[in-house]
């Protein structure tokens, strides 16, 4: 499965669940924007490694909202402690999706450790995440999207031909927070 196919399914599911979606830095956010921009999407433009953390913070702040973060293998390897914190918090409203292509896809496809011995689903389980799933086909992705915890999706190497996101950081944040934290009527 190509990554953009997985992102297309994730976006469709997020839309039907009314979920807030955090997109990882680089091509994953660009592909997310290309398959369908929505104000519920936060596109991470910097801070590599922190998509799972931003998603967790959102989910903890908004326990009644569904939150999904789209992360990558290289980024998760940079912030493995996040898996332990996610396990520790064990909130019901959060799903971390790791798109695992075994490489740093935005920087020239240099291989990551998951292309050889490392298994991020096993790492997530070892960190204490109670619900960990692995999907390799579109139908498996579809059936796993309602869960919590961690979902590892195996995808092919390669980026879709999509442009950069034509939004400023302020525009991304303004649109997103109008949904995630609208000003209360009293203030």
């Amino acid at each position: 499965m190509r990554r953009i196919e997985a992102i297309t399914i994730i976006t469709r599911e997020a839309e039907s669940q009314g979920a807030l979606l955090v997109g990882n830095i680089g091509y994953p956010s660009r592909e997310l924007y290309a398959v369908g921009d929505r104000p519920n999407n936060f596109y991470m433009l910097g801070s590599m490694g922190l998509a799972s953390s931003i998603g967790l913070g959102l989910a903890l702040a908004l326990p009644k909202r569904r939150v999904i973060a789209i992360d990558g293998d290289g980024s998760v390897l940079m912030n493995l402690g996040s898996l332990a914190t996610i396990a520790d918090q064990a909130n019901e409203n959060y799903l971390l999706v790791i798109l695992d292509n075994g490489c740093y896809g935005s920087t020239g496809s240099q291989p990551t450790c998951t292309s050889r011995r490392s298994d991020l689903a096993a790492v997530a389980s070892g960190a204490g995440v109670s619900e960990v799933k692995v999907a390799t086909t579109a139908s498996e992705v579809q059936s796993c999207m309602k869960g919590k915890g961690v979902l590892v999706i195996k995808v092919e190497i390669g980026n879709a031909e999509v442009g950069v996101i034509p939004l400023s950081p302020e525009e991304i944040m303004g649109k997103f927070m109008a949904i995630s934290a609208p000003p209360s009527p009293s203030s």
Binding site: G46, L50, S53, L56, G57, L62, S82, M177, S180
Partner: protein
Amino acid sequence: MKEMSPSEAVYNGMKGAGIDFVVSVPCVNLQELIHLVDLDPKIGHVPVTREEEGVGIAAGAYMGGKRAALLMQNSGLGNSINALASLNGLYKIPLLMIISHRGGEGETIAGQVPMGRLTPKLLDVMDIPRFSPSPEEAEEIVARAWELAHGGRTPTAVLLDIEFWRSLR
């Protein structure tokens, strides 16, 4: 009047500012403050594995409408710089950083000295406003540091050195 500990002064400042979400990496000098936060049902507390992770979680919490603070030792500032610049700086996300500032007068651990010396300079070069209150000033300054963070949509830092934690009001 009952004596207030330095930790209570900081905690009262956080409460006055309406802080309702805290991420923390411990320092021996933060133990009483972390305990006070843990006991407070109105503050969500997330112990994190690394300070940079805490910056990310606090950013997400802010995006969900929370007033977030990060409690850490100054060594953690070094672990957080990219996130403070390319997440908080880029998207203009406020964050109150309550920092145990080690490595100065009274320090017994040599390893604390290099980052201790660099900490104020690192904050200055990042244009992050910093405060170093006495225990008497702490409650007011902590609240003001949050107001500046919120109003300026920036991280701000309250540096609390070894001497700070030893003194009583």
